[in-house]
């Protein structure tokens, strides 16, 4: 059968304590999709946030309708929220992104265009090519990011320039297939998905994205993060 472009896009938003950002993300998403004429829905999978995120999600559902906003509560380790949320997705394409506004929502439209252009199975955002980039990162964080990516390219030769970006569009059947095969957790899971996708022969298109860090001074790149990244990278190196 001829593969179709995005007819309806399901956006999977895992949330934890995103009471302030969630309404903004939802507003931006509905504007982007409405302006570009693409049918959509937003699936909010909350990890039991204590800050009132679920209450905000309820209000958003009242404002935008339950056809557009689907709410799920899911109290399990990260990485598996996607599997749970996907069961409720009615679109033929799925976008996975962060709910904290670090990802430029407007790009969802660009992703759809790119997908149609090359009939890609996956469209992945990259901070490292074209006019992609970051905002609010100091030199140390940039160095660690580039160093880690270089190591990843040498060891895994993944065929995509940014493996930890985690802002992607997937054909629904492709995402389902990948979820079955991937075993890692957290952001190593994001890396594993691209590696497995290439092995299974899926096509990957890239779109430059900007990653805007609004929480200044709070660097999530401590020693622990680096160690767990290296462990994940070596595991993928040895098992894929």
């Amino acid at each position: 059968a001829m593969a179709r472009g995005p007819e309806r896009v399901s956006v999977l938003l895992p949330t934890y304590n995103e009471r302030d950002n969630l309404p903004l993300v939802v507003w931006l998403l509905q504007r982007t999709f409405t302006d570009s004429g693409i049918d959509f829905e937003i699936i909010i999978v909350d990890d039991g946030s204590p800050d009132g995120t679920q209450e905000v999600a309820r209000q958003l559902e009242k404002i935008y309708g339950s056809d557009k906003i689907v709410r799920q509560l899911f109290l399990f380790p990260s990485g598996t929220a996607y599997i749970h949320g996907m069961k409720y997705a009615t679109g033929n394409f799925i976008v996975i992104m962060d709910a904290d506004l670090s990802h430029h929502v407007r790009l969802c439209f660009v992703y759809s265009g790119k997908q149609k252009e090359g009939n890609f199975d996956i469209v992945s955002g990259t901070r490292y090519k074209g006019n992609g980039g970051v905002y609010g990162w100091d030199l140390k964080r940039k160095l660690i990011s580039r160093g880690a990516n270089f190591l990843t390219q040498v060891l895994l030769r993944p065929g995509a320039s940014d493996l930890t970006g985690s802002f992607r569009l997937y054909r629904k059947e492709v995402l389902e297939k990948l979820m079955e095969k991937c075993v890692s957790k957290g952001y190593v899971f994001q890396m594993e998905m691209i590696v497995r996708a290439r092995q299974l022969g899926f096509t990957i298109g890239e779109v430059p994205i900007s990653f805007v860090d609004r929480v200044y001074g709070e660097s999530k790149l401590g020693g622990n993060e680096i160690v767990s990244f290296l462990k994940g990278l070596l595991t993928l190196f040895a098992t894929t």
Partner: protein
Amino acid sequence: MTKLGQWLCGLAVLGSAWAALALAPPQLQPPAPLRQALLPLPVYLLVAFGCYSLATVGYRLATFNDCEEAAAELQEHIRAARADLRRRGLRL
């Protein structure tokens, strides 16, 4: 085959070729100048790779884009979003 497997195979092939030439008995040894270059070759390659890595990461670090426009645009969007959401009845 896993990536690790590919690396081990590659290293085994290159390693045994190098060892065969470097540790060959006197009758089968390659000419002296070739041997002089051959013996330290693994170290040369390692150093060359190290330099390449530093240069590449350094270049990529220097050309890592700072998205000023994207950040500014986001602030605008946030303002518009907050105003519109308040109008639609969102209570924070």
